[in-house]
C-alpha cells in the first residue's frame, strides 16, 4: 500500500503561546494560617484544600495509622452535626469533602461551584476545627482499615508494595510500615488517640488554605478570616527529622510465594531521596529517561522489545524523608528471571554511560512542555501549591521549574544516576509463583541468598486475628494530595480503576509504565 498523496513530512511546531503559572496571592492571618489564592478566570468549579503539616511520618510506631485514621474520621461527625447530616449538607452544595493524610501532610479538600464557595468552606472549617471523633464511628473506621489490610494481602500489587517497603527500611523507620498503620498498631487505636492527633498537630500556624478557580482573592481572604481567624494555634514545635534508615546494605532477593500466580510483581530498589534536595531537577530528567516516559529505557526494553509486561517503570517517591526509589513491573511468570536481568542491566547502564542527546532532549522537552497541561484546571493548581507549602518550598519554585529542567545536562543525569541509584545494594522483591522460577533464580545468582516467604492462604485466618506486621499499604500511592503534586514527570504508582469500569487502554494511566 502506498502513501497515495499523504503528506510525508512531519509538521514543525508553531510559535508557542507564552505560559506562566497563574499569578498567586499569598497572605497570612494573625494566627499564622497561610491563605494562598490563584484566580483562574472561567474556571467555575473551585478547588479548595486545607493542608496541614501533619503526616504519618510524625507519629510514633505504637500509634502507626493514627494520623491517617484521624483524617478519615474528620468527616464522621462534628460537634454540630453527625456524619450523615454533614454529608447531606455538602451534597446539597454539590460538594464532597475529602479528608486524607499521607506521609507528610493531612489535607481536607473539596471541589465546589463558585457560587457556593462560602458555605462549602464553612463546612470544611467545621470538620477541621470541630471534629467529634464519635467512638462508634472510629471503631467502624478502624475495623474497615483492618479488613482492608486483609484485602491488601490478597492483592499481588499491594502485597508487593508492602513487602518492598518493609524490606528496604529499618524497623524503626515509619516508612517500614504502611502510612495507614499495621494490623497490630491500628487494632489498638481509640477515639482518644485520634483526638490527641488533632489536638497536637492541627494548628493554623502549620496549615495553609489553598483556593484556585474563578474567585476574587480579597473575597477568599475575607471568608478565610471569618472562618479561621479565631482558630488558636497550639504551639507545636518543629517537626523532627524522619527516621529513614535503610535496611539495604547489599543486594538481596525476597520472594513472596504465590502458588499459581500467572504474573510476578517485581519491585527493585532502596531508599531514595527527600523532596528537598539540590538534585531534584536532574533527578526528574534522569527518572523520565530511565522509567518515566512511555519511551523510557525500561518500558522500551521490557515492553516494546521483549513483551514481558504491560508496563515497566521506575521513579522516586519524594517525601520529607528519603522515600523509596522503585523500579517496577508485573511480568508473566516465565519471564521473571529474564526480566530481572534486564532491569539490573538498565539500572547499571544509566550509571555507566551518559544518556544520548536525543534521550536528554525528549525528557527535558516533555517535562517543560507538559507543564501548562498539568495546570489546565484548578485541582492540580491547588494541589501543587499545597505541595509547596507542605515542603516549605519557595514561592517561585514553580516559576523556576522549567528553566531548571532546561539546564540539566547529560553529565548531570549520569552523576545523579551514579549517586542515587545503587543496583548493587538494592532489594529485589517478588510476588509470584516461586515453584515456577525458583530454580532459574538460583542459577542466575542475582544475590547471595534468596529468602522465600509463604503466605497463608487468604480466608483461612480469622478476620481480626491476622496481626502481622507485614501487611499492606492503605492505597497503592500513600501520599495525600500534597505529596509529589509538584513533581511533574516523576511517575506515580496510582492504581487504575477496577477493571470493567474502564476500557482497555494501550497505555497505563497517563502514559507511565505500570
Amino acid at each position: 500500500m502506498s502513501a497515495r498523496g499523504l503528506i510525508m513530512e512531519r509538521p514543525v511546531p508553531g510559535q508557542p503561546r507564552p505560559y506562566e503559572f497563574p499569578p498567586t496571592e499569598r497572605t497570612t492571618l494573625g494566627n499564622g494560617l497561610r491563605v494562598i489564592v490563584t484566580p483562574m478566570p472561567g474556571r467555575g468549579l473551585i478547588a479548595a484544600s486545607l493542608a496541614i503539616r501533619a503526616g504519618a511520618s510524625d507519629e510514633p510506631h505504637e500509634l502507626g495509622g493514627a494520623t491517617v485514621l484521624a483524617a478519615r474520621a474528620l468527616t464522621e461527625g462534628t460537634e454540630v452535626r453527625d456524619a450523615i447530616e454533614l454529608t447531606e449538607a455538602a451534597e446539597r452544595l454539590g460538594a464532597s469533602i475529602h479528608a486524607e493524610a499521607g506521609w507528610d501532610a493531612t489535607s481536607v479538600g473539596l471541589d465546589v461551584p463558585a457560587t457556593r464557595l462560602e458555605p462549602a468552606l464553612a463546612l470544611l472549617a467545621e470538620v477541621v476545627r470541630r471534629p467529634a471523633f464519635p467512638p462508634s464511628e472510629v471503631e467502624r473506621l478502624r475495623d474497615e482499615r483492618l479488613t482492608d489490610l486483609l484485602q491488601a494481602k490478597a492483592d499481588p500489587r499491594r502485597r508487593a508494595d508492602e513487602a518492598y517497603v518493609s524490606s528496604i527500611y529499618g524497623e524503626a523507620s515509619p516508612y517500614h510500615r504502611p502510612a495507614g498503620g499495621t494490623a497490630e498498631t491500628v487494632g489498638r487505636l481509640t477515639a482518644d488517640d485520634l483526638r490527641a492527633v488533632h489536638g497536637r498537630a492541627y494548628s493554623p500556624d502549620r496549615a495553609a488554605l489553598v483556593v484556585a478557580g474563578d474567585v476574587d482573592p480579597a473575597e477568599v481572604a475575607r471568608i478565610a478570616e471569618a472562618l479561621f481567624g479565631d482558630w488558636a494555634a497550639v504551639g507545636v514545635g518543629d517537626r523532627g527529622a524522619v527516621d529513614d534508615t535503610s535496611a539495604v546494605d547489599r543486594r538481596f532477593v525476597r520472594v513472596i510465594h504465590r502458588p499459581g500466580a500467572v504474573q510476578t510483581e517485581i519491585r527493585i530498589g532502596h531508599p531514595g531521596l527527600p523532596r528537598l534536595h539540590p538534585d531534584f531537577h536532574a533527578l526528574s530528567v534522569m527518572s523520565a529517561i530511565l522509567g518515566g516516559l512511555f519511551n523510557s529505557r525500561l518500558n522500551m526494553n521490557l515492553r516494546e522489545e521483549k513483551g514481558y509486561t504491560y508496563g515497566a517503570g521506575a521513579g522516586f517517591d519524594l517525601r520529607r524523608g528519603r522515600g523509596p526509589f522503585t523500579a517496577r513491573a508485573a511480568v508473566n511468570t516465565e519471564a521473571t528471571v529474564p526480566a530481572l536481568s534486564e532491569f539490573l542491566a538498565e539500572l547499571d547502564r544509566i550509571r555507566q554511560a551518559p544518556v544520548t542527546d536525543a534521550e536528554l532532549a525528549a525528557a527535558r522537552d516533555y517535562l517543560v512542555g507538559v507543564f501548562p497541561l498539568r495546570f489546565e484546571t484548578p485541582g492540580p493548581v491547588a494541589g501543587s501549591l499545597a505541595g509547596l507549602f507542605v515542603h516549605d518550598l519557595p514561592d517561585d519554585e514553580l516559576a523556576r521549574y522549567r528553566p531548571a529542567i532546561e539546564a540539566v545536562t547529560a553529565d548531570d543525569v549520569q552523576r545523579v544516576a551514579r549517586e542515587h541509584i545503587r543496583p548493587d545494594a538494592a532489594a529485589i522483591v517478588l510476588v509470584g509463583d516461586h515453584d515456577q522460577f525458583g530454580a532459574a533464580l538460583e542459577t542466575a545468582a542475582f544475590a547471595a541468598a534468596v529468602e522465600v516467604i509463604r503466605d497463608e492462604t487468604p480466608g483461612t485466618k480469622g478476620p481480626l486475628g491476622a496481626a502481622d506486621d507485614e501487611v499492606g499499604p492503605v492505597d497503592g500511592r500513600e501520599g495525600g494530595p500534597a505529596d509529589g503534586a509538584d513533581d511533574p514527570g516523576l511517575p506515580g504508582t496510582d492504581e487504575p480503576a477496577d477493571p470493567g469500569d474502564d476500557p482497555d487502554a494501550v497505555l497505563d494511566g497517563d502514559g507511565h509504565g505500570a
Binding site: P13, Y19, E91, D111, D148, T460, V506
Partner: protein, 438 residues
C-alpha cells in the same frame, strides 16, 4: 453555576471524515480525539480481544512514523496521549501545548492512511505478548478479576456481540494473524467510519485546512459492513446465579441487570438511582450496609452504558469478615426493591443532581474530556450537541421516573448474582480457572 455551553462546528470532508472543532483559549492547550466506530462488539467468535490488540498495533508505526515513535513525538512535544477500546468504540487522543496541534493531526492521519506499510509479524507478536500481560495484570492476577467477563457472559446470550469482554481470551489472542490485522484495518479504519474532534486553543479555519491537507487524501471505504441486529429482550427472563471460588479473603456479591440502552431516558434515571443508592456516604446502601448494620466493607452501583440492545447496571457489596453472605445479598436487594416500590425523596434527588452537575462541570473543564464527548456523541448518536443537552436531561429527571426505572430494571427475573467466596484452604494454586475463556 451552569455548565458553559460548548460552541462547535460540525462538518464532513469529501471522504466522509466527520470533523468537529471547538475553540477555548483559556489555557494554551489543545486536544485531538479520534473515535472509530468499531469496538469489541464487531469481533466474531474465535477472534475475541482483537479490536483491542489492533489498537495496540496502531502505536507500532505507519509509513512515516517508526515503532513507538507516536508516543515519543507526542511526549517530546509536551503532550499526553492514549488509546482505549470498549464494546462500542475505539478512541485515540492526544492533548498538547497548542502550538503542537499540527503534529497530532499529522500523526493520526498517517496511521489512518498508511498503517499497513509498517506492519510486521515481529511487532504484532510483541504487542500480542504485551496485551496478554495486560490481561494478566488487569484481570487474571487480580482479586475478583473475572467478574466483568462472567457478568457479560450471563447478561448477554452466547451469540450476542456483548457476550464477551473487550480483553478477549488468551487462545483467541494467540490466534490473531497479520491477515486479521489487514482485514480489520481495511474494513473499519476508514475516514467515513471516524470522527475527529479538536478542542481548545486553536483557529478553526486552520484546523479545517490541516484536516483537509492530512486526512483528505485517505480514501473512504464504500462498503462499511452494517452491524448485525443487536436487539434483545429488555429483561433476561430468569435469575442467573454463579458461585466463584477465588483467592480472596472476603466474599463479595456482585449483582448485575440488563438496563435500557445508552440514550434512553430511563438510563438517565437509572444513573441517578445508582448515585442515590451507592454514591457516597449519604447513599442508601452505604448508610445501611456499611454504616448502620456494618455488614459490608464497601458497596457500589453504576451503569455501563451501551447502545446495542441493552446496557448493564451492576453493583456489589464486599462482605465483612464473619458476616453471612446471604444476609448481605438480602439487605442489598431489599434496598434496590425499595427504590422500585417507592419514589425517592425530593431531597435525595436534589443532592444526587447537585453532585452530578458539579461532576459535569469538572469533567468538561478539561479540553480532553470535551473532545472525547463530542466524538462520542457524534459516533454513537449522530448528535455532538448532546454535550450541551445531556446534563439538562439528567436535571429534569423526576423522582417518579427514578422509581419507574428501578421497577423496570431491578427485577428478580432480570438479575445475575455472582458470589465470590474465598477458596478453600487446600485449594491454593488453582488460578487455572482464570485462564479459561468464557
Amino acid at each position: 453555576m451552569p455548565v458553559p455551553v460548548v460552541e462547535f462546528s460540525d462538518e464532513r470532508l469529501a471522504n466522509g471524515l466527520r470533523l468537529i472543532v471547538a475553540q477555548d483559549h483559556l489555557a494554551p492547550v489543545v486536544a485531538v480525539n479520534v473515535w472509530y466506530n468499531v469496538g469489541s462488539k464487531h469481533e466474531v467468535e474465535g477472534k475475541t480481544g482483537f479490536a483491542h490488540l489492533f489498537e495496540h498495533v496502531m502505536f507500532q508505526g505507519s509509513a512515516n512514523v517508526g515503532k513507538a515513535e507516536h508516543m515519543a513525538l507526542v511526549q517530546a512535544a509536551g503532550g499526553t496521549l492514549n488509546g482505549t477500546t470498549w464494546l462500542d468504540r475505539t478512541n485515540y487522543f492526544e492533548t498538547l501545548p497548542s502550538h503542537q496541534l499540527e503534529l497530532a493531526i499529522w500523526l493520526e492521519a498517517d496511521r489512518m492512511g498508511t498503517l499497513l506499510d509498517a506492519l510486521s509479524q515481529e511487532n504484532l507478536d510483541n504487542q500480542r505478548e504485551v496485551v496478554k500481560n495486560e490481561k494478566r495484570w488487569s484481570y487474571d492476577n487480580r482479586p475478583y478479576g473475572t467478574w466483568n467477563e462472567k457478568l457479560l457472559g450471563h447478561l448477554f446470550p452466547h451469540e450476542h456481540p456483548y457476550h464477551h469482554p473487550t480483553i478477549g481470551s488468551m487462545e483467541d489472542l494467540d490466534a490473531a494473524s497479520l491477515d486479521d490485522v489487514k482485514d480489520f484495518f481495511r474494513t473499519w479504519y476508514a475516514p467515513n467510519n471516524a470522527v475527529l474532534s479538536v478542542v481548545g486553543d486553536c483557529d478553526p479555519a486552520q484546523v479545517r485546512a490541516w484536516a483537509e491537507r492530512y486526512f483528505g487524501p485517505i480514501p473512504a471505504n464504500p462498503a462499511l459492513p452494517p452491524l448485525p441486529d443487536m436487539s434483545l429482550p429488555a429483561i433476561i427472563g430468569e435469575e442467573r446465579r454463579e458461585v466463584v471460588e477465588d483467592r480472596v479473603p472476603l466474599s463479595r456479591v456482585y449483582v448485575g441487570f440488563r438496563a435500557p440502552v445508552f440514550g434512553d431516558r430511563r438510563l438517565d434515571a437509572l444513573d441517578l438511582a445508582a448515585q442515590l443508592l451507592a454514591g457516597g456516604k449519604g447513599s442508601r446502601l452505604h448508610r445501611r450496609l456499611v454504616r448502620e448494620e456494618r455488614l459490608a466493607q464497601d458497596v457500589a452501583v453504576f451503569t455501563l452504558p451501551f447502545i446495542g440492545g441493552a446496557s448493564v447496571c451492576v453493583g456489589w457489596a464486599t462482605v465483612r469478615p464473619g458476616v453471612d453472605v446471604a444476609a448481605v445479598e438480602a439487605a442489598y436487594l431489599e434496598e434496590l426493591e425499595k427504590l422500585a416500590a417507592e419514589a425517592p425523596t425530593d431531597d435525595e434527588l436534589a443532592r444526587a443532581k447537585a453532585l452530578t452537575e458539579a461532576d459535569e462541570l469538572g469533567a468538561l473543564a478539561r479540553v480532553e474530556e470535551r473532545a472525547d464527548r463530542l466524538s462520542m456523541y457524534a459516533t454513537l448518536f449522530d448528535d455532538p450537541g448532546l454535550v450541551n443537552t445531556l446534563l439538562q436531561r439528567y436535571l429534569s429527571v423526576t423522582t417518579e421516573q427514578i422509581r419507574d426505572a428501578a421497577r423496570t430494571v431491578f427485577r428478580a427475573d432480570n438479575r445475575v448474582v455472582l458470589t465470590y467466596v474465598p477458596m478453600p484452604a487446600d485449594g491454593a494454586g488453582t488460578d487455572a480457572e482464570h485462564e479459561v475463556a468464557a
